[in-house]
Amino acid sequence: MTERLASIADPVADGLARGWKVIDGAALDHAQMVECDVAVIGTGAGGGVTAELLTRAGLAVVLVEEGPLKSSRDFKMREADAYPTLYWESAARKTKDKAINILQGRSVGGSTTVNWTSSFRTPPATLAFWRQQFGLVDYTAEVLDPHFAQAEARFHIQPWSTPPNTNNDLLKKGATALGIPVASMRRNVQGCWNLGYCGMGCPTNAKQSMLVTTIPAALDRGARLYTRTRALRFEFAGNRVARLICVALAQDGMTATPTTVSIRARHYVVAGGAINSPAMLLRSEAPDPYRRLGLRTFLHPTVISAALFESRVDGYEGAPQSVYSDHFLERDPIDGPLGFKLEVPPLHPVLFASTLYGFGPVHADLMRQFTRTHVQIALLRDGFHGDSRGGSVGLGSDGMPVLDYPLTPVVWDGVRRALLAMAEIQFAAGAKAVYPLHEQAEGYATVAAARAAIAQLSLRPLLTRVVSAHVMGGCGMAADERRGVVDGHGRHFQIDNLSVFDGSIFPTSIGANPQLSIYGIVGKLAGELAAQLSGGAAPVLA
């Protein structure tokens, strides 16, 4: 295997050797003044696709990324290295009341560098809701399908034909036994080694994240990239952005230094991801006459059920996600009781130990069963039911974002149904015991005991472990400025030369892992912008 490893190309190392213009903010010692056609804030799914398309149209692009530039050489499949380096807040970003733990990427490539590669087109029911409720008449499968197809070709999104690992297979086995349909994931990988460490950065560059695709393409076309540099705020002149003020971060990658990077551009694209993009606009005191900014931030609030099996599961090994079920999304109308998508997460010691309830001997006993533990997650589809309005982003005293996401009765109703559904599937797959992750729960040895206990659980914030790996909304799209922050082209309603191109423009959650929704929709919007600014034809990802 060592030979195979030695033969893995590191496109980032190669690009740097070729002379890419990458400036590490932490190494800057004097203020910078920069001019370009388009400044792009963020290098994740939205910023990456935008940067490739704009540079393909011949535009001069400057990218600003708050996290560091890391590549396959740095990815050692160790949580201790990966979480502090590649995630917001060491993979422990929390909502205001600390009740929801959020996994969000923070390095070049954003969350695409650390996601689990699951790829879904935006569900037609979600698009229909956007058309009906937000007037986004162009958001049809017919219009978007070519853009999804482009992204699928560019990022090698294909059915995963390798057999699922045991952790995924148990979801399939249990659901099938109960007559609940499951399906296989599509993944954005090429030559995947089936290692299972996607969440710590792909060590073999099989994952077709922005880090190895669009960002290198943009840098090869002359884009400049500032890393460890925080986009602080815009300065406005009338209804235009006059410049973007950034600050270089210190060696710790977190603390702001007095060194500024000031960027003047014809156009500005905010693509910092949900939570960060609205926070940046709030810091800028961007016009918000209808008080929409930061509102309707969605998380797919996710609850967890662990189950103990007789034989080994080894949930740390193999493609993390390859099987899912949409059965509980499709049972009720989209604006009815909250539906949920069933998936499994990878199991690694730090994330598992810190997520597991209890301490002392109880916790130690569960950890000793680590290799025989199978875990399911249920991702609740928020933002469709009238009482599911998501959270709102505000600013802390240090100017950093704080997401207030109240867990309301309509969410808890879904949580109880989800915990029950997962326990039933796990027993049907042969579980010896099922552990809903809740401070008051314990291991249940029979489906009857689990049912009775779940029916009685006191569902309130903190007691129930709730997590999220999907951040969406906060700069929502709509046909008119009373309902959204940007229009259906991602253009800011009040500021002429400003677009938002990332998951924050979604007016609801997606109801599926969001990366392909961002690639496809931003692919369309950034292509339109590139054509406008360059006067040429809309470029395509290639």
Binding site: S90, A353, S354, F359, M367, F370, E439
Partner: protein, 164 residues
Amino acid sequence: MQRRTILRLSVLGAAVLGASAITLRLAGRRSPEAVRADASTVLRGAIPAILTGVLPLEGGANQAAREQALERTLAAIDGLPPATRAELDQLFGLLASHPGRWLAGLDWGNATPEQVAFFLQRWRTSSFDLFVVGYQAIHDLVLGSWYADPSSWDAIGYPGPTKL
């Protein structure tokens, strides 16, 4: 002792904690050394309770493992953003303070792991979110840091990352 502790963790307890938080805030920024000392005091007390069943039993090895757990937990805190660190400083400052120790019914330096476990268990399922948040912060930090280290993996059967 148990009954008294429960009574302390009442509305009155929450009020004391709130008042102490305000007092600490008014007292202004404390030195990094003072902050670290408070964190160490609380974590030295909490670690043997959180890691009961995990730490080696033999005296010397037990002591060394506890020190390692403390160092790793403090290092994990250093990796958090300034705003989160400030909140943790406040939590540890409170728990190490006179009102905090009274509230917990604990002298962190002299409490047995059983006494600390009793306190943590109360906070874990408290009806006051503030207490649950405090418990979960300590839980996540200590356990996450412990299992981040390869020396903990044998005990759970994790072979570590695939060798490339």
